[in-house]
Symmetry: C2
Subunit: 383 residues, 2 copies
């Protein structure tokens, strides 16, 4: 072999290992949580197809994830306390730490530099560098910690189940600065923040009503809202309480699942007063507004969890009902609302529907799919 | 040279031309219009750096652009009637058509399949396949056509300067279906749609007030709003009228530049009634809400166009003023509002500011920069 051949062979072997499928834009990608197998299915929304799988993520029951601002990495929060960073271009695990014994969700700071995780055991919030996954702050709360969200200014908000408090952690300087707000309620069990990062609403276990905070105030004061919410439902176990992440802003109203009832509630977004109810097929789990807010899509708890209903936000009437199949767990809209992707867990399938015609556009095989997350989430607040 | 060497040389030469910088995610990229040189600067928002330049785009005065849903391609609307498709990964022109003699902006359909352009000469809207740039619909209007926006359902809305009408073109089936709405006003000169795709508002030249349409109605009826808007300013030339794209939704208010005054107006988003005014440093050009709506940033017409002001949306008070330099033409916020990028045209520079501290974080050299467009726009409606 000549020296030229040797040189060329070296060049060939040294060529960067850029796999063909990785040369692509990332604005229309997504991940589907495959709970039983501890894997993530990488999907291409434009192609309506799976393009890869990332394995080895451990216990993904109730897992959620957030994206880096460049839509290159996802941070996956496992129930087992693992925080895993995955590269959606190379489809590899880029880092993984077991950061607690039992965790309940996380968030990424507005600037994309910090990832925070809320933990039950030990109770508190831990904050990690998004590049290295090194821990940069440990905020013990002495309580199970729930309802963690990001708000502007490199801040996170979360609530303390045992202490009935909400804390705001400001990580814009070296040492975290904590603002503690007492009097939220006996046992806040979940919370949400509105899409503008302004209003934080905590659900209360074993008490009627919800508690709202205006985060634009320097020292937000708890305000009890919707006094009828959950009335007479004190005996439900906590896992039967509605997930507040399902709340939807539709025009000038919020929609939320009633507690233990076959109803969704409409709430005036300005006053936070109740503005009506719609009878539904079952007990709602998620009530999600299609982007733009014209319709709300609702799925249900067992035994009605094979069904979806679509509600018109102006008339509050159910305008469509469909039966995708057994265990409809989650819905995700494409960023501009043209399609909805639906996990049908016990059919091992994700269905794709046209939101205008309700026509089925396609389906993707997946192993016990639960959460669906499109990369467009990278650009939204309060997830 | 041996056959092996020849073979290896072939392999080296045939290796896919994947330039190193192209193996990257696209969620944090952007384009800056360099008007004088007919070029686009490709920027990486996370690195706060320019990473390439795309040349040969012709007349880019008042050019705007939209992104494909995967954040891979941009469609650039030149004033000279050119529609150019650029690949931001390879940084090449992927297609280009001269589609009219004089055009005024465009939009991409909610499903990303169609690109529409509004034209002065010949007056009307032309619609192109986003993949091939083949023309798929020609909608002559017999009028200069302005205020083109996308709304849900593969539809576009635009207005006719000469006829005082607004048209809705539905391209969800083979033949475009047109809904014509008369009585908008004598000369609509620009328009906007709210971020949820529901309310279309047209500015009127030589008449007081504006005209609003509720696009959720089957046959939207024109409604005249803000009767004081522009009163007494009938003598201004049309190019002195405010750009309505500058309107910002901040919480439950809109902000808009006054006509010919050193003021911004606050408008109740529910009633569309005036809700206050703030005196500003000069005549406002763009009044843009930081994502989340806590502050509004305003730039000004000459001779005050070296300055920016920041207004608090709760108090309506100016809380900060800075002087980036000569000819501050455009501002673009990062998707979650942490930074604002500012074109300082006559300093050949784009400045980057922290929106919380107002500190300058960096700058990028650019040739007479005007519009700045981050890829996160791919996921928003009504641009």
């Amino acid at each position: 072999m000549t020296r030229l051949a040797a040189l060329l062979l070296t060049l060939v072997l040294a060529a960067p290992a850029v796999a063909e499928p990785s040369y692509r834009a990332t604005g229309d990608l997504g991940l589907i949580v495959e709970r039983a197998s501890g894997s993530l299915l990488v999907i291409d929304q434009s192609e309506r197809a799976a393009i890869g799988r990332i394995e080895g993520l451990g216990d993904l029951s109730h897992a959620s994830l957030v994206y880096s601002p460049d839509e290159h990495f996802a941070f996956v929060f496992g129930r087992d306390g693992a925080l895993t960073k995955v590269d959606i271009l190379s489809r590899e695990i880029a880092g993984r730490v077991i950061q607690a014994g039992n965790s309940i969700g996380g968030a990424i700071s507005d600037d994309g530099r910090l990832v925070a995780v809320a933990n039950y055991e030990p109770g508190g919030v831990r904050v990690f560098d998004a590049d290295t996954l090194e821990m940069v702050a440990d905020i013990p709360t002495g309580s199970k910690t729930i309802g963690l969200v990001d708000i502007p200014g490199r801040r996170f908000v979360f609530s303390l189940w045992d202490a009935g408090e909400t804390w705001i952690a400001d990580l814009s300087s070296e040492e975290p600065r904590i603002t503690r707000i007492a009097g939220i309620g006996k046992n806040p069990y979940d919370a949400l923040v509105t899409g503008d990062g302004r209003t934080y609403i905590a659900g209360l276990f074993g008490e009627d009503g919800l508690t709202a905070l205006d985060l634009w105030d320097d020292q937000p004061a708890p305000r009890r809202i919707l006094p009828e919410y959950g009335r007479g439902q004190e005996d439900l176990p906590v896992y039967k309480m509605p997930h507040l992440e399902g709340w939807a802003l539709a025009g000038d109203q919020f929609v939320l699942p009633a507690v233990g009832q076959h109803e969704v509630l409409w709430v005036d977004a300005g006053t936070l007063d109740e503005a009506g109810r719609t009878r539904t097929h079952g007990q709602p789990v998620f009530a999600m507004a299609r982007p733009g807010g014209r319709h709300v899509w609702v799925n249900f708890a067992p035994p009605f969890n094979d069904t979806l209903q679509v509600i018109d936000t102006r008339t509050h009437a159910v305008i469509h009902q469909m039966t995708p199949g057994p265990a409809v767990l989650h819905m995700e809209f494409t960023a501009r609302g043209t399609e909805v992707w639906v996990s049908v867990r016990d059919a091992n399938r994700v269905d794709i529907y046209d939101t205008a015609t309700f026509e089925k556009l396609g389906e993707i095989a997946a192993q016990s799919p639960s959460g669906i997350f499109f990369t467009a989430r990278a650009h939204r607040m309060g997830l």
